[in-house]
């Protein structure tokens, strides 16, 4: 799950860099309709991963892996 989250975040960042390098209608559409959902999905997966590892329990000793 951690690898999928990292991959989605990397895709989102690649779209961001492409948008900054050449801003036009196509890259802006990619940024808004593909990059942002990919980043949101990555963050969601990361939070679920951390939750399953017990990070949000009281006195949790879960690792950050």
């Amino acid at each position: 799950m951690m690898r999928v989250a990292a991959l989605l975040a990397l895709i989102a960042l690649a779209i961001l860099i492409a948008t900054a390098a050449h801003l036009d209608g196509a890259t802006a559409t990619m940024f808004s309709l593909a990059g942002m959902p990919a980043l949101a999905a990555a963050l969601g997966l990361y939070v679920i991963h951390r939750w399953r590892m017990g990070a949000f329990r009281r006195n949790s000793r879960a690792s950050n892996s």
Partner: protein, 215 residues
Amino acid sequence: MTPAPAGPLFISPPVEPVVDWPRVLPVLVALPAVAILAWGLVRGRLPPAAGVAGLVLPIAAYGLGMLMLMEDSKDVRFCGSCHVMTPIVESMHATDDSSLAAIHYSRGLVPTAEACFTCHSGYGIWGTVGAKRAGVMHMLRSLTGRYHLPLELNGTFDINSCLGCHAGAATFRAVAAHQDPDVQQALLSHAVTCTGACHPAAHPEEALTGGKAPS
């Protein structure tokens, strides 16, 4: 068409920044995030500090990217980069007073770099928000092909965009038709618009049909 005269005097805005920070900052923040996430992708886990950085940096990069997009998408070149808008932006360069947009653009009556945004957004922060919301809908329509030619304005044009500049102008106030109370009431109630009866169309019909002659 005669070639446009060149030279630093004709560049707007006249002083270009050495570093385009709105475009550079998101990349500067994104690059360390890419390194951390690539590390996480290979190893399948991250140390605590790197995990926090891998979470915060992409969010910060996207926040800066959104600011960049908000600002740079006001540019006329951005508006004209979608195929359906290209003929409209090209038609603004006409010098024959064939459309209101061409009159304003070719005479420098609106900031030439942000001409589309100047007339198609309201005033204040909510005007900008409304224009950006409309821009997202344009993206969706372009992506799904759900637009129809000839292009038509969604709703009525907000003449406050015109009055923001013209209402206080002596030449505007001096026109007898503008002083007529009935005309004023009709304009402010959106019963009539500036274009059509009195002033030329905002954009030529050919441009609204995608550059083809109207049938």
